[in-house]
Symmetry: C3
Subunit: 349 residues, 3 copies
């Protein structure tokens, strides 16, 4: 009876298995303050109870990506502790606002398995769903990870690759956003006069600023999310790894890119969905993160005249300014793109 949990390997997963994850987490104003300190996010709705109330929220909601990271973090010990790679995200929908005082738990459903032809690794497709203390779903997303087998003789499971939508349909967006009183939206306070109508598909925005990452920062963040993936914390073992050093949690780059995107997208107050995302290259301490965005698509929300949805592709780069909208991926030693994120934001009309 070994009480230490070494994490699961590919052969430990069963199709349609349901996993309830530890540890439940009450989100507080302390978590939100740390989030602000880690990324410098300036979106008015999440920063000010007064601003939030003026437009129809009962108080300032917790930052969307903080919710994502906390829901995600719980899945790590059971899903991806032994992951070789996080291959991608799909169909990530924010379903309900989260406020300080809410308690989040996460459940995962194993929706797909596929052993690789080498017989040594396989891909696990997981839908993870975060719930609040009333049992409401607050967030649901699919990710797929490559895991190795501990026992290479273990029989390959029945293969199933789930059909995933290339993007979240616009008509299901917005359930985590109350109806906004757009007359209460103060453009001086929000930081921009540009609203939904001012953006067009194909528009590119250089978010200009660069933010250098320190080891203490990405570790503080990842522990705040109770994410236990070893590659982020253990400099001793990572010295012997492929990259020779600790990797920052991929979500750290997502939050940095989102915070940088304020400069150009200040009124994009809510991430309604993430259509897909890839961590195309690693982020290390010492790296400086930049970001640029392209407006991919615009959509109305059925029955809502308060907000519209912008589909945005944001690329974050490492050690490469976004002035020229770079697209090439970074490698361990070369500057370039580290994150490619396709998501829907809501903007006031």
């Amino acid at each position: 009876m070994d009480k230490t949990d070494a994490g699961r390997f590919f052969e430990d997963f069963r199709l349609d298995e349901i996993i309830s994850h530890a540890t439940p987490r009450t989100i507080t104003a302390g978590d939100q303050a740390l989030y602000t300190a880690l990324y410098g996010s300036r979106f008015a709705v999440q920063s000010s109870d007064e601003f939030a109330r003026a437009i129809g929220y009962p108080q300032a909601p917790v930052d969307d990506l903080l919710v994502f990271h906390i829901v995600f973090g719980k899945t790590v010990p059971d899903i991806s502790l032994n992951a070789i790679a996080n291959l991608g995200y799909a169909d990530c929908r924010f379903l309900m606002p989260v406020y300080p005082g809410d308690t989040l738990t996460t459940r995962s459903d194993i929706i797909g398995l596929k052993e690789n032809s080498n017989g040594r690794t396989g891909t696990v497709y997981v839908r993870s769903t975060g719930f609040n203390q009333r049992g409401d779903m607050v967030l649901s997303f699919v990710r797929w990870v490559m895991l190795r087998k501990l026992d290479e003789q273990a029989k390959a499971p029945e293969s199933r690759v789930p059909k995933l939508p290339p993007s979240v349909a616009a008509d299901v967006l917005g359930s985590a956003c109350p109806v906004i009183r757009t007359a209460g939206w103060d453009s001086g306070l929000s930081g921009s006069r540009y609203r939904f109508g001012d953006y067009w598909p194909g528009e590119r925005i250089d978010h200009v600023d660069g933010m250098t990452v320190e080891e203490a920062e990405h570790m503080l963040a990842t522990r705040l999310y109770q994410n236990t993936a070893r590659v982020h914390f253990n400099a001793m073992s990572e010295t012997a790894s492929r990259f020779g050093r600790r990797l920052a949690y991929g979500g750290h780059a997502m939050s940095l890119a989102r915070a940088l995107s304020f400069n150009g997208l200040a009124n994009a107050f809510h991430i309604a969905a993430i259509n897909g995302g890839r961590h195309v290259a690693p982020l290390f301490a010492g790296g400086t993160v930049f970001a640029w965005s392209e407006i991919v698509e615009k959509a109305d929300l059925p029955g809502r005249s308060d907000v519209g949805a912008l589909r945005i592709r944001t690329r974050a780069s490492r050690d490469l300014s976004s002035t020229d909208y770079p697209t090439q991926d970074a490698s361990a030693d070369t500057p370039g793109i580290i994150l490619d994120l396709d998501y829907w934001v809501l903007m006031p009309r």
Copy 2:
């Protein structure tokens, strides 16, 4: 229509212009906890609801300099993003206590402009005022910054240099401090038996301790304040700068000096005003900050027998112990004074 805000240049300011800054901010116990973790401040009034109530506050107020940094931070994107130098502060008055749950906004008035004779730069004088959610002024201060012109052909504006008081008059101090029940002041808990009557003009106090600054710390602090000045965050661009590295936000040195000053000034529970301040040399990560103070003046507050005001000049040094009350400025590579701050504190009688 470029949606990215590149910040203003000298020619973008108009005399008597009023600027409402983004982002409103609800200050929480999380912000105060981070402030404690960043500086190790030990003043009892801000640390303990019980202590604060025992002397007449409804609860522990937020640290004065945390209020300053948050009000200041909002002005950066509109005022000083392209600043060559922050030249000084004057007439900074704390007007109302701030408690967790209060929401702060900042407005700035352009009270002076003066183009330099080189035709390429100019000085902007700004009065910035922080308001709470009830519209009460909580803090007001003047600063002046040197900015370059983007268009060197732009016509020089009408010149006006505001007349600034060399110090805040003692008779306007104290509005952010409720009447203190001095009988409720527990000297064991506050950390010192020395009250207002125990200090005299000319007295010098070596605050003894040194605190080394890390990159992660000053960046966490500056993001907490939603201050976006690039020089603090972008190691890549700063490598090419005059100093070859990131600079810590000047306010970080102010808060370190204030926290260090507890040893010798433990009962100086409230900063009532800042008469003037200069960041006379840069602070970099790796530097160790020391501080020493001189009591400049003592003043009664009209109609108040509970507290008196000490005017203090605190110097912070970098990599130079304060044992000998050093006065020479630091340069980029040489230890010395980095901050020279002239301010009023209140002390119980």
Copy 3:
């Protein structure tokens, strides 16, 4: 009249002297969030109000070691600022749960003094007790520290070495733990199905994971605890010290070991007492901390069928994986054990 406190030396202590320490501290959700970010602790009771309520707490209590560090921190300026070494802990009992909003103060009693035969140093035995705002004792512990004499001619005090229990008796454990509704204990959420009955004396548990420490992290932690010991903060003076660099606060290693111990001891939800503890070697930034535990003893709690007590010895190592349950001490340059902690935890039956 020197207003700067230089800390006490051996000859400044008197037997049976009582010292009331500054600074009272209201613990908030912000402190708890920082604690999570610093260590990544995942115990469900401290992480979730809902989980805590389901088992009988009114809300999530503050992490036990956070309480310890805050109570301890207050003693540093008066007791150990000039300590040569923290020699040990004994008879540390957690007496009352602490919740966000509680205000802690600390009082110390000098229970023993013994000058060393060299005439230059001596050992001070101190019982420190933390109180909440109602005057309830929340924590009490003894520690002894070696201090040097400032005046070597000072007369040796009457010698008294207190008799300290080798361990806290099991029948006084549990007063900080309400009666637990074990039926409300959700093993999926808590992270382990192993309860009190599943552990046995002699059992060893490798906690597997390693956590590398950064300067910014241990300094943020130590300042959060308002602990002013210079060796943690002043890189300039510490360069000239025996170790040539800053030391992490010993309690930082305790909290890292406790957080790592979740993997194997997830249901050990409450530290009821610390029987003894030694920081057998220093922890520096850059070091990677591992931990392993041995179950020393099991005990029933008189009159309680909800929880049982496990006496655990946890060793933390530096730069040495715990796979082989190492026991040798680290030196400044060699990997090995840094912490040897003997404590009682409560587990649901």
